[in-house]
Symmetry: C2
Subunit: 666 residues, 2 copies
């Protein structure tokens, strides 16, 4: 960290005001001291490598130059990671991703090699297939990606058009892209980086369709990198973000691969074309669920980044007077600014706590599946869908709120807030589109409601539905526990409404599917309300556990944050509470006062709270958010790196502007 | 337009279903047939110019190359515009901006020359100053911008640090930037384009500070474009959007300008240093108010662009089955998709109607001011603040909703949705930051409430406060007129709450300013509720007037849109209505049904409605949204333009990737 002498004086003062042990909170936030120290050790290594530091910031480069720079850095980083893994212990995913941002400043073109290619071989390959491909993939002698989505097909897997037709004579699969829309589209690294692909395709044997299966396909020569015969591959062009992810497209024309290249852990195709259906279809859910669970953690992390930048800037920035003849005040002293930023800090903790809870549930389900028990899979699937949807959406909204809270400077690329927004908003769509996922959870909720009506026992996360059927509601109390119950009443009420909306349409003569569609806006709202009830409940209960072993200072700020989160959402959804709980207008007035009191309680600890996220300047990469608060100096320093500022007069003056000015007539 | 033969068959079918005259609605939307025809004539000229068409899409270029390309195109476009203005009539601002997007694909580096530099000379210069500078500026023999915001100072004008000190001996002003934070920061075109600047600076005469005044300063040599002595100028670097706007910074070191370069229409400095205060301080409000009013129109236009893209794509895109064994359906048939998109169409009309109303009010106030009447200025100021704030914020949210409704492809730069979002979200901050503006309106509302309590006559836009004081509320009706009244009750209720919150803090011993800050979250909400009441009221009344002369088909769709807008916002703010109006739970259930009926009514006209915005493909510049619906073909064609796709193997393979793969060990 920068020496105390150079730190902005407002930040120094803020840090002096802090009432709790920042380090202790970092350990809690990160899941344990050992994770923090491991990350710090690795960061010290990575950020001392000179070759990873940019001479010209990426954003000044052309699209092609940015790609080349990202490959260069990704190779260095991968080598550091592998070396570290050999000497010390293997790094956790969060650390790898966090440090990756700091080094590459955007998405690595190897993201899907590490995140999907290796995992799919591991999850879907037979032991022989794993033995063949895993060592090469782990050593990056082969580099791969996972190719599922097509130009014309995303969410609806059964609609995929790529075909893999078994040729019994040669014992090969023949891959084809029969249409323009069947071209693979989006896989990271596919454009110009990877030489292997796991391809999702419709399996055909003797003219019979057997649905989607996965195939290992080499697409480029390992020596020359030339695309192999029949392969049409390239990159898909610029996007809102993910500029260096090297997303690509891929088409096949009679590409032959050996039979053993179908991933056959579950279903199999024998030499003679016999199709053997596997027993454990459900196992394939695993990776998908895990990816969605990890997006809840990603959401906590992007919010932490944005909050760190915005809170530090709000402490440094002075603007306007509260009172005439007094100096301009820190914008962090405006209640409206606290309203925008403190919910960001609280939400990051809410999502981090929820991730911990959900990941534990995931591990339990995986263990159960190993024992042949599938009972908790539907509940986990429903939870991972709605929590992925809600946390990703909230993270995008909150990051943008933090960005806007920095005024014009939040629009500067050098603030890093635009790139963080690009990451956050992408997660709303990838790995399960937002609306589609909420509707998947809604299907589970409709079944749960039916079961509740039938008096059956429900899974823990929906057991509140049983309580809601009891007519004697307790009178409202303005305590966090009770507000959480209020959210459960809201969720139950909306689930019931949606259920009745479907029934109404069915009674009016609609098919169930049409009735479902006609009720889908209400189904979405039910699913959202369920998510919020879960988030508040898990955050509340999780914080109590964390606080029980924390120092009084840390326990106090954790309590402020969880209360703020719950009261904030109560006030945001007052209409729902009025409709579905027995809250009164007087209670709402009390909660408004409570909310403002919590803002005031958090105010002195705001900078300490974002310091506790312990995000290094290299990861923040922000003129507004660095630890030392040299905001204005950095803004000017970054601007001075612009190639347009390396020469007093740009050539366009002589080429275009001057002739234009001269030709202009009065 | 493309020939009918090549148009996507779904779009053809959608257009056949349309029940109203698309052209007629275009004329209404654009304010009259003459405006539409004028725009079309100009567009036909501009888009036939080959030199304006890109060989390589802008997004593949480096930051510097993009700037150079934008200057080249801006010069061509400006010449076309000047020539057109001479032959035909002068184009309106909306047409100039719309066609500008189509040609430059982003912001012109001349934007502030046309939008602020010329207007400020006209509004703030004496007749002599106008005679000297206007002809040169209009012919672009001099190119300028408007420099007010500083690195450390935005909203709070009095905080600006740049100084202009009068030297009575030489009859000159000496400009200085005493600190880093006093550097001008943000002005469009300032970076490397303009040679003149209107600079806002603190005027000092004989050591006495006279506040902010405007000065015309030449900053670059007209022949060589070299910065003049004492001028430190450059560009500020990349941003979230506005990449080609060439925003710049500017510092002064003892830069001397003649006395006559202070804009002296109002305040004056005489030769001997005598400061003469002008009479018409209020006149300077004019430009600022006009800019805010025009942002309401901009908001309508960006929403129209995004809605056109998203609705056409939703008609072309098929995804998932509603029923097993049926083909995948157009995503426009999902109720959730209609919920996301139809409010966009309705909002664009709401804002367009509100702009027409507000612009008329502005013209009236300007006329009044000319006669020395200032009565309506505070009301107009309050309206322009909250409507700018609300419309810009809504436009950003709705554009992003449209983008997300396009799934992954909405993240592609080639969809143009990311760049449209960049434009929309910028407007939330520029020309008056969102929160600051809402609080300005809140000040007016607090005064109005006080006046209402005192039984005084209120301005028309707040006269509903008087009604709200009457205790006998009518029972709720589910009609648009009555819902609008409901919104007024909500606004009045929140204004009252905020008023009492301030009073409570004052009674508890706080200064008024501290009480104001403590109540500011509630003040914001009051201001927002006021905006929504105004928007719904104006849209409702404006639509009745428009419909009265429209054909039955067009009148019907206009009615659907305004009802949708009002019912949508009633459902979005149910909590407020429950708290402040006498709506019942049963009414809410009725409104939900009504809302779904309106979606169904609009569905067959959805494509016709966005066609009626009549935005040319050149302006949309979108793979997803073009008139002919060749979505997938265009996505692939655009991707193929990537420089990375011009060679089978990128050099980074040989330089980095291959050595890395070879060195990798098992």
């Amino acid at each position: 960290m920068a020496s105390a002498l150079k730190v902005n004086k407002d930040l120094v003062r803020e840090r002096q005001k802090c009432t709790f042990d920042v380090k202790e909170l970092t350990y809690i936030w990160e899941g344990g001291r050992e994770f923090t120290e491991e990350r710090q050790r690795y960061e010290n290594i990575v950020y001392s490598v000179k070759e990873l530091q940019d001479e010209v910031p990426e954003l000044y480069l052309s699209h092609k130059e940015r790609y080349e720079s990202s490959i260069r850095k990704a190779c260095i980083l991968q080598r550091l990671q592998n070396e570290y893994g050999k000497k010390h212990k293997v790094l956790n995913t969060r650390t790898i991703r966090l440090v990756g941002y700091g080094a590459i400043r955007d998405i690595s073109p190897f993201l899907l090699h590490n995140g999907m290619f290796i995992q799919t071989i591991e999850g879907q390959g037979t032991p022989e297939q794993q033995a063949e491909w895993m060592p090469k993939a782990q050593a990056m002698q082969i580099i791969g990606t996972y190719a599922q989505t097509e130009l014309g097909h995303g969410t609806f897997l059964r609609g995929l058009e790529t075909t893999a037709t078994y040729d019994v004579k040669t014992e090969e699969f023949i891959l084809n892209s029969p249409t323009l829309t069947s071209h693979k589209w989006w896989p990271g690294g596919l454009g110009t980086t990877v030489n292997h692909c796991i391809v999702a395709a419709q399996l055909y044997i003797n003219g019979k369709k057997h649905g989607i299966h996965l195939f290992m396909v080499q697409i480029r020569d390992l020596e020359t990198h030339m695309p192999l015969p029949g392969i049409n591959v390239g990159e898909i062009g610029p996007k809102l973000g993910f500029q260096t992810a090297n997303n690509g497209f891929l088409g096949f024309k009679n590409v032959r691969i050996p039979r053993k290249n179908m991933l056959m852990k579950n279903n199999q195709v024998l030499n003679d074309g016999t199709y053997v259906k596997g027993m454990n279809e459900k196992l394939t859910y695993g990776t998908m669920v895990l990816v969605r669970v990890s997006i809840v953690s990603d959401a906590a992390n992007v919010i932490a980044r944005a909050a760190t930048i915005a809170v530090r800037y709000a402490a440094v920035r002075h603007q306007s007077q509260l009172k005439a003849n007094e100096p301009e005040v820190q914008i962090l002293d405006y209640l409206t600014q606290q309203h925008k930023l403190f919910i960001a800090i609280a939400t990051s903790h809410a999502f981090s706590t929820t991730y911990g809870w959900l990941y534990k549930a995931y591990l339990q389900v995986v263990e159960d599946l190993g024992k042949g028990k599938q009972d908790h899979l539907p509940e986990l699937h429903a939870l991972s869908c709605c929590l992925k949807a809600t946390c990703s959406r909230d993270s995008a909204a909150i990051v943008e709120q933090c960005r806007l809270a920095c005024g014009g400077h939040g629009y500067m690329a050098s603030s890093s807030l635009p790139i963080v927004y690009g990451l956050a908003t992408a997660s709303v769509t990838y790995e399960g589109e937002h609306t589609v996922l909420l509707l998947q959870t809604a299907r589970y909720l409709m079944k749960a409601w039916q079961m509740a009506l039938q008096g059956k026992v429900l899974a823990p996360s929906v057991s509140y539905l049983v309580d809601s059927l009891k007519s004697n509601k307790q009178s409202w109390q303005n305590t966090p526990e009770f507000i959480v119950k209020g959210f459960q009443h809201v969720a139950a009420g909306k689930i019931k409404d949606a259920f009745h909306a479907i029934q109404k349409h069915v009674k009016a003569g609609k098919d169930y599917e049409d009735a479902w569609n006609l009720a889908s806006v209400q189904l979405i709202k039910a699913s959202e309300a369920h998510s919020r009830a879960i988030l508040c409940d898990v955050f509340w209960r999780g914080t109590i556990i964390k606080s029980s072993t924390a120092s009084p200072g840390v326990a106090a700020v954790l309590d402020h944050l969880v209360q703020l989160y719950i009261v904030y959402w109560a006030l945001e959804t007052v209409g729902d509470l009025l409709l579905y709980s027995n809250i009164t207008k007087e209670d709402i007035a009390v909660l408004k006062v409570k909310y403002e009191e919590l803002l005031a309680l958090i105010r002195p600890n705001a900078v300490g709270l974002v310091d506790a996220f312990d995000i290094r300047d290299e990861v923040l990469n922000s003129t507004l958010g660095s630890y030392d608060g040299r905001v204005y100096e950095r803004l000017m320093e970054e601007a001075m790196k612009s190639p347009l500022n390396q020469e007093p007069v740009n050539q366009s003056f002589h080429k275009y502007l001057k002739p234009f000015m001269k030709r202009a007539k009065l």
